[in-house]
């Protein structure tokens, strides 16, 4: 066995997986689980300068969480926003892929807003299951639901890219996983009808739109139908949160990616008895929290995604 194989990740494999060579993203697969390697602020800045559109993804802030895995989730969100403010080239906007709060309390939404607004960027939200704990989804919809349909789905365009924010955490059925539901699926089909196949599409939702690990409910049971409507499009990027770790998969025209949380890490699929906040040594915590930067370049099929931890 060569040294490379002992590492679990051979240099050759890394090179094989560099699908975005030249745009700064490095990712690799070990044990069947993709990991992002490219974490460089300089690369992010260089990308932003040379491209049409760079936006940020932030996820799973869990404002209100104060358990041992991170007694100060507000503080780490503040750190993430401070880093976003310090990026040399201002991103166009930010998307938040849900679990803004831990318990959907007004005070938690207030605190989140106070911190996230410091970035001085437009933020496009979708809810996580922690944001719609109140039965009628009243608080989330009052704050973020203006102009959205159903429990809060919508679409918008930026620099020729079509963005679709989806809700797969509402009206979940016992024994299932995340779910979009018939009404939302019909809306997606309709929303895409008039778009040309050359329009780059970005889908974002809280729970992964591919089946990461059904034993922990890490997937969306009717996502195949949504992805079916996207088959004719040349460039599709799916951005999710929920699992509090970076994971990436490319399948044909579709790139799937999950972002880190700013609050607490969760175990890799199947490595613990269940999902949930994972306590790590204090000095490791910030290496497992962070945000993502996404850059679209004219003429390139895939968007470049760079995950940046709070530290390391």
């Amino acid at each position: 066995m060569s040294h490379d194989d002992n590492d679990g990740v051979s240099r050759r494999k890394v090179l094989e997986c560099m699908t975005w060579a030249g745009t700064g993203v490095l990712w690799t697969i070990s044990g069947g689980v993709p990991h992002s390697l490219g974490l460089v602020d300089e690369a992010m800045a260089a990308d932003a300068k040379s491209s049409g559109l760079t936006f940020l993804q932030i996820s799973d802030s869990h404002v209100g969480f104060d358990k041992p895995a991170n007694p100060n989730a507000k503080g780490t969100l503040e750190e993430a926003i401070a880093r976003i403010k310090a990026v040399p080239v201002k991103p166009a906007f930010m998307i938040h892929t849900g679990d803004i709060t831990h318990l959907s309390k007004e005070s938690e939404f207030d605190d989140a807003e106070k911190i996230i607004s410091q970035a001085r960027l437009d933020v496009h939200y979708v809810p996580g299951e922690h944001d719609i704990i109140d039965p009628e989804i009243k608080i989330y919809k009052e704050r973020y639901g203006r102009g959205t349909k159903g429990p809060g789905y919508y679409s918008f365009d930026a620099n020729g890219v079509h963005f679709i924010g989806l809700v797969n955490v509402a009206n979940l059925k016992g024994g299932g996983m995340g779910s979009l539901g018939d009404e939302q699926l019909e809306w997606i089909e309709d929303d895409l009808k008039s778009r040309s196949a050359s329009t780059p599409i970005v889908l974002f939702a809280h729970i992964p739109l591919w089946t990461v690990y059904p034993e922990w409910g890490w997937g969306t049971e009717d996502s195949a139908r949504a992805l079916g409507y996207l088959k004719r499009f040349g460039s599709v990027t799916v951005l999710n949160g929920h699992i509090h770790q970076v994971m990436q998969k490319v399948e044909g025209n579709v790139t799937f990616h999950t972002a880190r949380s700013t609050a607490f890490p969760q175990p890799a699929p199947g490595t613990a008895s269940s999902a949930g906040p994972m306590k790590v040594p204090a000095e490791q915590l910030r290496t497992m929290l962070g945000t993502a930067s996404v850059t679209f370049k004219q003429g390139e099929q895939r968007l470049a995604i760079i995950d940046t931890p709070l530290q390391g």
Partner: protein, 112 residues
């Protein structure tokens, strides 16, 4: 009759009563723990009239939501409890509305 055997059986009965009684006010009341995204015990049989109390021991909120809508807790934060008294015999499936892969059931048998 063997006195020692009688005594042993009596002691076991007392121990059993203590074991059940220590977690609930009445012997036919039942506790279900929520640990590591699992209802524990996942399936339990009770007599009609029994009160079932769920306690969330996770650092993540969960709900106890009947599949047919008969009972529905609010989101239970860490250490929060929810109780429901089952009066009608039958099988009651439930799940966590936040993490629907978490499921459990209560089977209610007719009382004596």
């Amino acid at each position: 009759m063997n006195f020692a055997r009688h005594f042993a059986l009596g002691a076991i009965a007392v121990l059993m009563t203590v074991a059940i009684g220590s977690t609930s006010a009445r012997a036919d009341d039942v506790e279900v723990k929520i640990d590591n995204f699992t209802f524990n015990p996942q399936q339990i049989t009770v007599k009609a009239g029994a009160k079932v109390t769920w306690t969330n021991n996770d650092d993540i909120p969960h709900t106890v939501t009947s599949k047919t809508g008969i009972f529905k807790s609010k989101a239970l934060d860490t250490e929060d409890k929810f109780s429901f008294t089952f009066t009608t015999p039958g099988s009651y499936s439930y799940f966590c509305a936040l993490h629907p892969h978490m499921t459990g059931s209560i089977v209610v048998e007719a009382g004596k």
